[in-house]
Amino acid sequence: MLMNGARLVLEALTKEGCEVVFGYPGGANMPIYDALYEHPIRHILMRHEENACFAAEGYARSTGKVGVCFATSGPGATNLVTGLVDSLMDSIPVVAITGQVPKHLIGRDAFQEADVFGITRSCTKHNYLVKDINDLARSIHEAFHIASTGRPGPVLIDVTKDVLNAKTTYHAPGPIHLRGYKVSLEGHSGQIKRAAEMIWGAERPYVYAGGGIVSSGASAELREFVELLEAPVAETVMGLGSLPSEHPYCINMLGMHGSYAANQGVSHCDLIVALGVRFDDRVTGRLEAFAPHAKVVHVDIDPAEIGKNRRPDLPIVGDLKHVLRRLNKLLRETRAADGAVNAASRRRWLDQIHAWQSEHPLSYTSSDSEIKPQFLVQQIDQVTQGRHIVAVDVGQHQMWAAQYVRFNRPRLWLNSGGLGAMGFGLPAAIGAQLGNPDQLVVALLGDGGFQMSLPELSTIASYGLPIKIVIMNNGYLGMVRQWQELFYSRRYSSVELDCFPECEKLAAAFGMKGRTIDKPRQVAAALQEAIDEPGPFLLNVKVSPEENVYPMIPSGGAINEMILHQPQPVETTGD
């Protein structure tokens, strides 16, 4: 069938299983929008291209499928950049398709022309500039292949308008073969065997699990692994839910705002089994002081992660699902003999971990008069019960949610982990709700991040998405304020958000329900009201303005130098 390039884009997307696209039209991608007019692919008109990319991420993060977004040339495409870097940092499969000015105008500073191919080179896993209709189908299918295999990531395809208008026929290409792109899944047998030996040889093993478990879909394998080994598991902010929060071996998050037990554990263990993690600076603190007594087994699908920050004693390059399956098989076979040697030590180690947990559990001073942010998060946890989607923005509320909200399966917790992009939460919730129409989606946002993404209330209202928006409103850019309090002698510079719209009126302006509360006794009822409301709900919760997130490791500090409760001035400049 003869069709134009724009229609071919939609046919190729359909072939890849794409059902929904987040985007924004403009001059250069108008042919795509014309083709969409009578096409079954559902298009969600966002209010900003950055949010289109975040929504595609929210869709991808919550469903495991590739998220797709559209933008026009120039400003449309440059607005995608933050979302692209965000998905690159968190390894999220996203395909972005941007319109470009016609081929004959490229390089002539045409209206809405920008060097999007150049600009997004370092924001993507790979990108394409398509100037020939014959390259279009192949580029799209390659993009999906690259985005969704190996270490997932964003791929951008910039298509000139003349290509979108050119006539062609669509033939789905055969299997994709890229000479420079090889993914090793299985892991080296010899290394896996050595890993099993190191694991049984350890007296104090510690599992450090991250986003790689989620990407690989290896939660069941992780669970079997830790149950065989009977070892504590700490998760990164990207790995929350990879082992159920309620699992007895799960000791929550480690790192800057990690639990006491998780950080003590990593400081005293003799073996770290690092699974799909990056040894990020927010996890390790001062690298030289991180896990000084531990040998490291590091499993990752990306060879460039191995030894990037911490040199492993045993590297395994492979997909976690495959590697853990093979490792578990070996461990099952050797458990009776080799596993018995250090069984008593491992049991003492677990006792020690549990002792640390009860010594310093997460805690805060509760209040009858003001709503403590931690209390709000605990109440949300009572609603979501570890079973529903919680999308968050960036800052204090994100860390409190990571600490207090349970996630009993992966892909329920959506956050901008690596990039820490404010404004992520609300559009991510939109993507998640569209990918999971029957699920409860809570968007927990700070008052800062909410105001960055506020226009998306319009998207939520116009599509009638029943998202429950909870604003943890402390009147500050809370995390920056916390740092100013601790590291800059309480000089609160440009962190006060003293003008916040009246929530009920704001919600009403978009035709949705809203409520503001400021008393602890109101929280449970207000959350229930939000849940019972069939449509979207905007809940503005005024919380204690100057509460800090603890435990905290000052930036550049050693992981066992935690500030547990009281603010103590620390002489360091953060970064």
């Binding site: 080179r121 500039l129 420079g180 191995i306 990037k308």
Partner: protein
């Protein structure tokens, strides 16, 4: 320290930018860079000389290898390799010095490739030290103009190398 990296990349628009982008994003300055097609017209061979602190070398190579258009990356720095560079230089020589000049050119196995009255264009190839010595010598004849090609490097054919190569060739034939 100076690191010499040899790369095999797909001969596609943007491939060079991707490779140099990894270097420039980390603030590394490229000392020299050569690119040209291989026997397989779909592939190009690049040689890059770049100043990188020792601790970051392995990571840099892996991050370049991660690029979709990059087929192979080899850090030649510590391996036995042959490295050559081509220079073209133009020298103004007085009649009095002409004979001595031409003798010098011969000693260094350089060649005069163009001449007009009193002005000679000379081509020389060799390892960097030899070329530096040659340039030093040529400067004594007067003002010189110089163009350097940048380093071309190839691993030496050792026993281990050949073994690795034959393995490699199964994957990539160039």
């Amino acid at each position: 320290m100076q690191q010499i990296i040899s790369l095999l990349v797909e001969n596609k628009p943007g491939a060079l930018m991707r490779v140099t982008g990894v270097l420039s994003a980390r603030g590394y300055n490229i000392e020299s860079l050569t690119v040209a097609r291989t026997l397989d017209p779909e592939l190009s061979r690049m040689t890059i000389v770049v100043e990188v602190e020792n601790a970051s070398r392995a990571l840099l190579v892996k991050q370049i290898a991660r690029l979709i258009n990059v087929i192979q990356v080899v850090d030649l720095t510590d391996a036995p390799f042959v490295c050559r560079e081509l220079i073209l230089l133009r020298v103004t020589v007085t009649d009095l010095m002409r004979e001595a000049f031409l003798k010098e050119v011969e000693i260094f196995r350089a060649r005069v490739v163009d001449a007009s009255p009193g002005v000679y264009t000379v081509e020389a190839t060799g390892a960097a030290e030899k070329l530096d010595a040659f340039l030093e010598m040529m400067r004594s004849y007067g003002d010189i103009e110089l163009i350097r090609s940048g380093a071309l490097a190839m691993p030496r054919s050792t026993k281990e190398n050949r073994k690795a190569k034959s393995k490699e060739l199964k994957k990539v034939s160039v």
